[in-house]
Subunit: 336 residues, 2 copies
């Protein structure tokens, strides 16, 4: 766990591992202070959380590893911090959970400790944390064993005990919905890989940058608790995450290609298989009214849920002429 | 979060990232199944935990990085898994917490995925998890960006809301205690660094191997909830962890050298500064009866807590003749 006391002599801040921990606590500031849900923050063997009565605790952990999830030459450090937290917040959103606290495990190469990277990374992470009122409650720091920056984020949230929003609740006859637009993150990534320096000065979250600064759909997720039967966030691409949902629910799905809310910058392939859109994919009974917008985010009906059938693939696309074709789970990892 | 469905075609188990996740779930077996505290395990966007009524949730995260916390040429994979979990369990023990669930984030180099390492690592981790009845509730997997194995462990526990065992509760007049013996882990590590292959076949937890297979003091920790005023686990070495405790409690401490329970294999330096003993260091009022053994572990009074004084260092050693000398926080990182 994060300690706040430097061991041995640390003169320059952020230049040593333990100096850096003190710096994390300083930068996080009031953001690590105990409050309603956070009974004890950084500085002891564990953090202590007090979940609201009648709620269960939702927990998710997500790696953000240099070379796998981000590239130092492409992503501004603030974006790396933002995206690391957004990945975890999006998992909470998909469960309809309200965030209680975040934990950051961060391993830095010695050379990076001597740069402004860590401070900028934290600034990006904390800006998003403040927006969603998530205190940074602890974590761990280490020196990276090689030249890669290693991040692991833990998000803890609360969900009402009696209502849950799982991947497994979809039923035949349900309609299939998605929030926002699809493929925008993959399209922006394609641009970045062509021109790595294009947005290297984009040091703050800005709309229109779905890859660098995705927005987790927390308010939407909460509002789906009483509306949706199943939900998953689109982190690996629509095709892969829909396959997860169908598998867990023991159903199949048909997606109407013509209705897909493809991002203006994206093509169909990016919309179907591009990862990291962090939109919510959910199902609801046909009788359930679903507004066209929830919490400011457009909602589109993109298909329907059907009973599993041996002769049919678990996910299919239906074109404008009504012709069906298999939708294979082709979500990919970006820098593999 | 851990999914259990392979994406793309995975023929050989554990040979690909997502095949490995399925393997984690298979090996963890009933150990990932929902139960009393674990409402939902591996396979959704988050795991769901139901802490017992009247309890708060304790959370700790700990890296175990190859080259920093373990060496592949020295540590049997089962020991790496055991130690990763033991680090987190020891943090829970120091808070008097009862474990509810563990989360494993694991990044493997492609070459390691094709070996028996991952399975043996999990076997070591799960053996200790079963011993302490901790379900593996989720986590994340990734391909390591380089040739190092990267582990991050999250432990979640429950503590009674009204009684807490913090680092900050020590008061002047308290006695200072330590469990078990000190320096054994550092002494065993010194042997290993001389003869790296010495215990390469030690594939199961065995007593007498405090470095390879440390035992977290969970039962002791719980019994201290009503006895101790402050507690910390010895992960960085007595001198460093005592300094943490004194700083958080705004007190100073004097340790009687003659009373230190030095492990038979260790020297004084290892007992004072050697890390990873995972014993509990705690304080209790002089009037509190502390048994000589708690939960089968020897307890030794090693000194006392005094009011902070500007002219005195925060931690001092008192030799047999009563002479005082400063005890500097010299806990170190092993492979730095």
């Amino acid at each position: 766990m994060l300690d706040v006391m430097p061991r041995k002599s640390n003169t320059a801040r952020t230049q040593t591992e333990l100096g850096f921990i003190a710096e994390v606590a300083r930068l996080a500031g009031s953001h690590t202070k105990p409050g309603k849900a956070l009974a004890l923050g950084i500085g002891d063997d564990c953090a202590l959380l007090r979940p609201p009565r009648g709620q269960v605790v939702a927990i998710t952990t997500d790696f953000s590893l240099e070379g796998r999830h981000f590239l130092r030459a492409v992503h501004p450090p603030e974006s790396v911090g933002h995206r690391a937290l957004a990945r975890g917040l999006s998992d909470l959103a998909a469960m309809g959970a309200t965030p209680l606290a975040a934990f950051l495990s961060l391993a830095l190469p010695p050379r990076v400790m001597q740069t402004a990277w860590p401070e900028k990374f934290l600034a990006g992470l904390l800006a998003l944390a403040r927006e969603h009122r998530v205190p940074l409650a602890g974590g761990d720091t280490a020196q990276s064993p090689d030249n890669n920056i290693l991040v692991d984020i833990v998000l803890v949230g609360a969900v009402p005990e009696k209502i849950s929003l799982l991947r497994s609740g979809a039923r035949a006859g349900d309609k299939l919905y998605v929030s926002g637009s699809l493929g925008g993150a993959a399209a922006e990534l394609a641009v970045l890989l062509q021109s790595p320096k294009k947005f290297s000065r984009l040091h703050q979250a800005a709309s229109g940058h779905p890859h660098l600064y995705p927005q987790p759909r927390l308010t939407l997720g909460k509002s789906l608790l009483r509306r949706a039967t199943a939900c998953i966030d689109i982190s690996d691409g629509l095709s892969t995450d829909l396959a997860h949902l169908c598998q867990r629910s023991s159903v199949r799905a048909v997606v109407n290609t013509a209705t897909l809310p493809i991002a203006p910058t994206a093509n169909l392939k990016q919309a179907l298989h591009g990862g990291e859109d962090y939109e919510l994919l959910f199902t609801a009974p046909a009788s359930q009214r679903i507004p066209k917008k929830i919490a400011g985010v457009a909602i589109t009906c993109i298909g329907e849920i059907l009973p599993k059938k041996k002769s049919a693939p678990p996910c299919q696309l239906r074109d404008a002429a009504g012709k069906l074709s298999p939708l294979a789970a082709e979500g990919y990892e970006h820098f593999a």
